[in-house]
Symmetry: C2
Subunit: 116 residues, 2 copies
Amino acid sequence: MQDKASLQSALRMWEEALGELVRRDGPDLSARQMAIMLIVYLQEPPHTVRGLAAQLKISKPAVVRALDTLGRMDLLKRKPDEQDKRSVNVVRTVKGSVYLSEFSDVVNEAAKRHLA
Amino acid sequence: MQDKASLQSALRMWEEALGELVRRDGPDLSARQMAIMLIVYLQEPPHTVRGLAAQLKISKPAVVRALDTLGRMDLLKRKPDEQDKRSVNVVRTVKGSVYLSEFSDVVNEAAKRHLA
DNA sequence: AGCGATTATTTCGCAAGCGAAACGTCTTTT
DNA sequence: AAAAGACGTTTCGCTTGCGAAATAATCGCT
């Protein structure tokens, strides 16, 4: 268990960043969609539907739907696997990189503001 | 603009915490619902529908719906304002406090794990 | 070559959330 | 006291997401 101060600290930081995101115009990603974005952009490729479903413990159709939505937004892309033609690799896009970059700015600003 | 290391740092922390939350059983709150929870539990009362809508720049019906859902989950409660009978105060519950306490544990664990 | 396993997707019925507009209640202004 | 405004809620039509089950394509094993 943490001390009370650090509990509040983490929550306040989350609040500021999240509030900023909700206020923002533009795409409002669900928790699952954001989790998939972060995995795809922060963990080493390759990323597959089954892999994402397993890591997040959600159903494969849920992953497929999230990829549909994120793909429509150009935040990531499907790329057929040439070795195993049943499989699909999920890859990054420029727009997705920009999106996450701005996102991390928001988080960092909140962190900085809170620590100050 | 931050240096690249700290950008990645914030994102990785967010990813670990968010991943844990998505995996978790139990209520899966939307971004808006979570934002409302954090405001109600971290900022000083009183909290009203119009106040929450203004702060998050979302419509009042959206706030009403979120309060319906969160209220059904016992994560917060409506309390009629005695002074101005048009108004409603949003107040905390024990269950909500527990929920956020566990939430901050997850965030803190992710932060600690990442800094290690 | 054939057959079961694996991968991703689609279909189905359903539940939840959205914004805009209308509404009911209460307060403030005139 | 009547009108105007403020607050929260409800209604409307619509969009999105969900899990479970069914489907299509491909792989691997024997």
